[in-house]
Amino acid sequence: MNEMAVPIALQRAAGPAAPLKVLRERGQHEVFCGLTGIVWLHRKLQDAFFLVVGSRTCAHLIQSAAGVMIFAEPRFGTAILGERDLAGLADANDELDRICTQLIERRPEIKTLFLVGSCPSEVIKLDLGKAAERLSARFLPQVRVLSYSGSGIETTFTQGEDNALLSLVPILPGSDARQLLVVGCLPDVVEDQFRRTFDALGIGPVHFLPGRRAASLPPVGANTDLLLAQSFNGATVRALVARGARIVPAPYPIGAEGTSAWFGAACAAWSVPEAARDAVLAPLAERARRSLARHREWLAGKRLFMLPDSQMEIPIARFLHRELGMELVEVGTPYLDRMMVEAELPLLPEGVTLSEGQDVERQLDRLRAARPDLTICGLGLANPLEADGFATKWSIELVFTPIHGYEQAADLADVCARPLRRRAQLTV
């Protein structure tokens, strides 16, 4: 109970990193494309509209992934390409201008318009970057038009967020002031908790990318420290580094230990005295650990199989293994960006199977052979696996609900323990 979780201690406990076994797979990917990120990005960026330039499939995907259709006129939509648009590109550009003009007239509160590329727009080589420049020139200062790709041929699920944030990097104001920039979209409640903790630690100014409005952008420069909140924003982080910022290496703030290590890394970079650090973090970590205890009863010793989905699999697996005692059978991830998980990989147990990419049929063969106690997978697979006798947790909940930070550690554990508790309770 007394382990003070600072990153140095954490890495020592793990010992030297063993060579990692990575199974690379190619085949059917049962993973969303990057367009799906719009579901949470548009909630976070309250002055932004996301216009997918794509097909009916794109529109149907987003509304199916969102699951609910509660907003009359949500701040996202799809410009559906028709046969006329495919006939000639000039026509498609005119059409896009017409739709954007119509949209901006209709939604005067929109300050940033993201043109989001899709598989069809990439294949017909519709240049949305140029279109964004052209439209920005017309609509600034009222509306800034940006573009990024969420296409399935180039991006997986959470990479959509990476590309969206990447499109903001060139327009971030420059500043050489010493500051901390937290990179990755976080729910407001988590952002507020983190701000309070940074304040208590005396670290500041702290900015978040993205903030709550796309129009109010955090500055970046030579004295900017980057603390990464999501493990899938590799391209954005590299672009920020290119603007002079430097990465504060840390595990992700998942679980009590991960959150302590994350804040601990910031404290080290900002020379916060150990006593001051522990005075703030120790009670929070202790409370989080206490709340994990009852979930540990359900999860300890249970065998976990994770199918690739959100790209957060490695930090989540680390948490479920180290803090809740789960055994890791296979940890699947859509792709492995080693720079982004440098501090995480040494924390995984030796001999764990990491798989990158997917051939879903072969992976399900392995899963059936391994008979895990809990499988984390997408919604398309969850019910069929349940019917085959496997307890499952659908992974999209790990993306759409707050899981970061001390106060959410137990929520994340609960989400994983609930399928097991439920199975134990039901007798039908």
Binding site: Q28, C33, S55, T57, T78, G82, P120
Partner: protein, 552 residues
């Protein structure tokens, strides 16, 4: 390019998936990029499938675009066959793959698989989900029957044989409709040869021409197949879809005539026009005639859905429920003509659109008291505080109930009666609300006890906060209710405008005596009446002049 917020139908390949998923021994390979697997969750989550839909995806990536994609598709077909051993393979493309022009269907023919391979051309950039389903069913049936010569008329059988065409996975209540239709056929002494595609095998498709005619149960999906079977094998098909009391009776008569059997074993016990519980197998006709249902008279209803369900709903609304249809529309452009005709017969202009915002505007303008629509209209109605029942896809997981709940046949008529009336305020409760409306527990702001707190009658939304009025005016309110409720459904679109005449205090007080659920409409109609005649301010007299005008 068309700006779309929400879509009623998915792309055509989702329709193809619905056909493949309906069948027992078919596998579908979809040439598609990463992300298109989202469609699996429609089946596993909305319809709670306990198995994966029989669909494999090629998942091509940007780096494959140089020319690898065709090979990838071919390999995927070979692997899917080896793993799943289906009796027929469907091969199709999602929108992006269509642009690549790999022609995976043609390529797959060269694999020499021992089962039929049907290549689909799904026209992703011009067609939609239901078209995709109907095209896939048609191509599959044609392919299976391609070597079957036109058979002579089936030998005389003791019991006539019939096929049921059209029910699919992710169709509206198809699972239960089949059971209900089967029950009707059994009562008529007609045997079902095959139900296609839901639950069917390739063998069932082969046997299709053994039947003497087809029941075209869901024309959006099965009409082209029924037409082709008619052309190729001389099999007639039904025109009536048995949704609602009268349509069910018509259906029985039509089916009996096609089968050459006597309809009397069923229709003999049906007595349209009689107000008795025993006048039908269904309770719906008697329930509709029960005095409690008089409060349904003239309720204004807005109907939107696929053409089959929208048309059926319009007929039920007028003939069984006694509603007034104030809006009728569909997103099924393929059947726009039928819906236009039905709307014209009701004195309306049909709304044929797949633009959600346009539908929302039409609902707002029509000011209905009930919306019968899809999952989309459920949200529209919820925001406007209008009761709503879902009658058509697209649907939500809650529209796939665990209990038996067909919409076809006699039991379907019961289900529809219940599910349309439930969202409305119960008749007796409406009276109680009027009588006790100034009671502290029964004030205007209290929603009906059986409705969720969010669902409130339409007029409430526009009603200003209600100060307690001294005089209980139950008698007046009851009288005013009927007339003003009728007045309220008169010409729509009377939105409050600039320059609307003001009200005298006395006029305003009188207005507040009108039951809250029609008050908003009474206000708007009176204001319109006054504005048109240049009357200002609005007095008690103006209010009653307007009432007399609209209640005529």
């Amino acid at each position: 390019m068309q700006l779309t917020i929400w879509t009623y139908e998915g792309p055509p390949h989702v329709g193809a998936m619905r056909i493949a998923s309906s069948m027992r021994d078919v596998h579908f390979v979809l040439h598609a990029p990463q992300g298109d697997t989202y469609a699996d969750l429609l089946f596993t989550m909305i319809e709670r499938y306990d198995h994966r839909p029989p669909v494999s995806y090629t998942t091509f990536q940007a780096r494959d675009l140089g020319g690898e994609t065709a090979g990838l598709a071919k390999r995927a077909v070979a692997e899917a066959y080896a793993r799943f051993k289906p009796n027929l393979m469907l091969v199709g493309e999602s929108c992006t793959a269509e642009l690549l022009q790999d022609q995976p269907g043609t390529l797959s023919m060269t694999l020499g698989l021992p089962v039929p391979v049907v290549g689909l051309e799904l026209n992703s950039f011009s067609k939609k989900e239901n078209w995709g389903a109907s095209e896939t069913l048609y191509q599959m049936v044609r392919s299976v029957l391609s070597d079957r010569a036109c058979v002579p008329a089936p030998a005389a059988r003791k019991t006539p044989l019939v096929n049921i065409l059209g029910p699919t996975a992710l169709g509206f209540r198809c699972r239960d409709d089949i059971v209900e239709v089967d029950r009707l056929l059994e009562q008529l002494g007609i045997e079902v040869n095959a139900v296609v595609p839901l639950g069917a095998s390739i063998d069932d498709l082969r046997r299709l021409p053994d039947a003497s005619f087809n029941i075209d149960l869901y024309p959006e999906v099965s009409r082209p197949t029924a037409q082709w079977l008619q052309r190729s094998f001389g099999m007639p098909f039904t025109q009536t879809v048995p949704i609602g009391m009268n349509a069910t009776r018509d259906f029985i008569a039509e089916v009996a005539a096609l089968a050459g059997v006597d309809p009397r074993p069923v229709l003999g016990d049906e007595h349209p026009g009689q107000a008795r519980l025993s006048s039908s197998q269904s309770r719906a006709p008697w329930y509709a005639r029960s005095v409690d249902s008089t409060y349904l008279t003239g309720k204004s209803v807005f109907i939107f859905g696929d053409a089959t369900h929208a048309l059926a709903a319009a007929r039920i609304a007028t003939e069984t429920m006694g509603f007034e249809v104030v809006g009728l529309g569909t997103y099924s452009r393929e059947r726009a003509r039928d819906v236009r005709e039905a709307a014209t017969a009701l004195g309306l202009t049909a709304l044929v659109s797949d633009d959600y915002l346009e539908v929302e505007q039409a609902v707002a303008a029509a000011q209905p008291e009930l919306v019968l629509g899809t999952q989309m209209e459920r949200h529209i109605a919820k925001r406007m505080g209008i009761p709503c029942a879902v009658i058509s896809t697209p649907m939500h997981v809650q529209d796939v109930p665990a209990r038996y709940s067909p919409v076809m046949g006699f039991e379907g008529a019961n289900v529809l009666f219940d599910s349309w009336v439930q969202p409305l305020m119960m008749g007796l409760e409406e009276h109680l609300l009027q009588m006790f409306r100034d009671d502290f527990e029964f004030h205007d702001a209290a929603p009906a006890s059986h409705l969720p707190a969010t669902g409130r009658p339409a007029a409430r939304a526009q009603t200003p906060a209600e100060p307690a009025t001294a005089a209980p005016a139950a008698a007046f309110a009851t009288a005013a209710n009927d007339t003003l409720a009728v007045a309220a459904v008169a010409p729509a679109g009377a939105a409050l405008q600039e320059g609307t005449p003001g009200w005298t205090d006395e006029g305003e007080r009188e207005l507040r005596k009108i039951p809250f659920f029609v008050r908003g409409k009474a206000r708007r109609n009176t204001e319109r009446f006054a504005a048109e005649r240049g009357v200002s301010p609005i007095t008690v007299e103006t209010l009653y002049e307007a009432k007399a005008h609209f209640g005529r």
